[in-house]
């Protein structure tokens, strides 16, 4: 646990969350959400929760992003907010 890393990652996470909710293009939002998941994965590895980090890397950054992208492709990229 290194608190300097911790703060940097946490701030980046908040930024990524806000961006992914504000981008108007859904594909872009999904990609930023993938970045958010990777940051979380990094945070957990840093906090000593290796198993959780592993799962988050596989699930959050991997499968969640892929299925969200799949949905955006088979529906629409348009979003008004």
């Amino acid at each position: 646990m290194i608190w300097q890393f911790d703060i940097i990652i946490l701030i980046l996470m908040v930024v990524a969350a806000i961006i992914s909710l504000r981008v108007k293009d859904l594909l872009g939002a999904t990609m930023v959400f993938g970045i958010y998941s990777f940051l979380i994965c990094l945070l957990w590895a840093e906090m000593g929760a290796v198993d959780v980090a592993f799962t988050e890397a596989a699930v959050g950054a991997g499968v969640s992003t892929v299925i969200m992208t799949a949905t955006v492709f088979s529906t629409t990229r348009r979003s008004r907010d």
């Binding site: 806000i18 906090m47 799962t55 969200m68």
Partner: protein, 147 residues
Amino acid sequence: MELLAAGFIEDNIVPKFNYWIYVILMMIGLYAMITKNNLIKKLIGMAVFQTAIILFYVSIGVKEESGIPILGHGQHHEIVEEGKPSGEVITKDEFANPLPHVLMLTAIVVGVSTLGLALAISQRIHGSFGTLEEDEILDQLRPGGHD
């Protein structure tokens, strides 16, 4: 006043900044879930909301100066072969608390399951309404939408 503010920051924010950030993330997610108009955006908000809770739990398990909750090979064999009482070899300050990690593995799984199902349902909604915007869907239902 300045002193008071500095004291507040030192007592409440510095040792607990993780807890503060989780509240901020959670509120971002909650706000998005309530106010966003696009269904996919709502789901991104939902995912942020759930990860904020996971962040809270994982923060419970952290201990200063402790390692990951996996024994090294050496420690393991020592105990098993010599049959020492464990208290002499492993103390609980050495390792992070494993219980929150286990709980959060389950929560992550629940999160991705909910997300998958919600995405499937939003695809069905898009299939029958042709849009993912909530107000446009409600407009389509308006003629018969008695509530």
